[in-house]
């Protein structure tokens, strides 16, 4: 089957049980996305699938023929970091770093959702600020951080959003 990952096309011949996460890590040598819980509960495996953030541990790669995937490796490089990577560095948005690729991919997907005006569970009123601190926290609640580095992630994301 065919999959485009970070703008590179791959022809893959995989066991049908292979998840997108395992395809990335074990077959394409892209180990940025992490295996945390492997049950969709922690968000460490978050990548962008056709532009939308998903838990790659629950995606069967066989069902994603011709899909486009972006992982943390495709967002930025050490020389040219993505604004979110810059923000996480500037604001110390991590400690051990294990959840960070998932946090950053999730934030990238989240900012796109905000751009499209999607509401969240805390959105209220007709002209709400979709990037207030409570909004950022709610929208990022699918990504857990064992170190509890949450407080610094909020300004990191706000900076990346140009706020």
């Amino acid at each position: 089957m065919r999959l485009t990952v970070n703008d590179v096309e791959h022809d893959l011949d995989l066991d049908p049980r292979t998840t997108l996460l395992d395809a990335l890590r074990e077959h394409l040598d892209l180990t940025g996305a992490k295996k945390g819980c492997d049950h969709g509960q922690c968000g460490a495996c978050t990548v962008l699938l056709d532009g939308r953030r998903v838990n790659s541990c629950l995606v069967l790669v066989i069902a994603q023929q011709d899909a486009r995937v972006t992982t943390i490796e495709g967002l930025g490089t050490a020389e040219e970091p993505h604004p979110l990577q810059r923000g996480f560095l500037d604001h110390d948005g991590f400690q051990c770093g294990y959840c960070t690729p998932g946090q950053i991919c999730s934030a990238a997907g989240m900012l796109d959702e905000v751009e499209r005006g999607w509401p969240s569970a805390v959105t209220a009123g007709d002209d709400p600020d979709l990037l207030s601190d409570p909004e950022i926290r709610e929208r990022m609640s699918g990504n857990l951080c064992r170190c509890g580095a949450y407080p610094n992630m909020v300004p990191a994301i706000r900076q990346a959003a140009g706020r």
Binding site: R53, V59, L60, S106, G109, P119, N143
Partner: protein
């Protein structure tokens, strides 16, 4: 995980091999396959079918395709405006990532989160009929107070389904015997002595859409969910409601409870009590109590009675305030 064949679904190919299962977003099914609780031989992927539209109906209702993703449905302007309870219920569930994958059909048919059900090494009448129900004596803090049986006290975990029950939604189904419709409130079965069957669907019947009938007063509707964390956790109790008040009196009301029963629990007794009564907190509490008279809590889940009464009063009081 047991290995399986994969194919994409064909709308006309009604009829599914005995060990085949439909795959949608996979957020529940793939998890259960990893856990060894679901062991399909064949996965039939419904997501490539043209069932991902949200369309307005001539009667003012809305048809939601079975493969519409939960996040797209929650963000749809027609849903936000006309049926806010549904948008709120969706947004109260799971996470941004999961909602991007989860579909309308899969959300309705997700299985219980009872910990024994999700552990293939444990006895459980739902995943291994006849092995018993360890939850009765064990961990049932989040299981049913309504509609359970000696054999099973599982709760249905969906938030979306609770809103759909309140809205009187109808599920469209396609199978070997042709098309049929099932009200959402009749989709899930009570367990009785056959808890292995969650719903009235026959094997191979596919959900194609969910219809929301026109309900003008649903513009004033809301969902409230109580859970163990501020976000990203299943409900321990929830209430979906729509309220039509005229001159301080309840003209019409729709009410459903979540996380208290094997199905989204439409509170018809409470609705009946409320019609024609003053729209006051006192009435709302009395109505909740009338519905909850049927509750049969276990050792560790009687708290849900107070919780549901309080949630009902809070949601309806707020909606009544907005009507003023």
């Amino acid at each position: 995980m047991k290995t399986f064949d994969y194919r994409t679904a064909d709308r006309s190919s009604a009829g599914l091999a005995p060990e085949a299962m439909f795959l949608a977003g996979g957020t529940n099914l793939v998890d259960l396959m990893k856990l060894g609780v679901a062991t399909p031989d064949v996965l039939v992927d419904v997501t490539k079918l043209p069932l991902d539209g949200i369309t307005e109906r001539p009667d003012g209702g809305v048809r939601i395709g079975a493969t519409v993703r939960n996040s797209d449905l929650a963000a749809d302007p027609r849903i936000r405006r006309g049926f806010p309870v549904l948008s709120q219920a969706l947004l109260a569930g799971a996470s941004g990532q999961l909602r991007n994958m989860a579909t309308t059909g899969g959300n309705l048919l997700q299985r219980t989160r009872c910990r024994y059900f999700m552990d293939a090494t444990k006895p459980c009448n739902k995943h291994a009929p006849g092995t018993g129900c360890p939850a009765r004596e064990g961990d049932h803090r989040n299981l049913a107070i309504l509609g359970g049986s000696e054999a099973c006290v599982a709760t249905h975990p969906s938030d979306m389904a609770v809103a759909l029950a309140a809205l009187g939604a109808v599920v469209r189904v396609d199978g070997a015997a042709g098309e049929r419709t099932v009200p959402v409130t009749d989709l899930h079965r009570l367990p009785g002595d056959t808890p292995q069957r969650d719903t009235v669907l026959e094997h191979g019947e596919m959900i194609t859409a969910v219809d929301l009938p026109a309900l003008p007063f649903a513009t004033r509707s809301a969902y409230r969910k109580a859970r163990d964390r501020a976000s990203y956790a299943f409900a321990v109790g929830s209430v979906a409601a729509a309220l039509d008040v005229d001159d301080g009196v309840v003209r019409e009301v729709r009410l459903a409870f979540g996380a208290v029963a094997p199905k989204p629990w439409r509170a018809t007794v409470a609705e009946e009590v409320l019609r024609g009564r003053p729209a006051t907190e006192e009435s709302f509490r009395a109505a909740a109590d009338a519905e909850l008279e049927a509750a049969r809590p276990l050792r560790d889940n009687a708290y849900k009675i107070d919780l549901i009464r309080n949630l009902t009063a809070a949601v309806l009081t707020r909606l009544a305030g907005e009507a003023r």
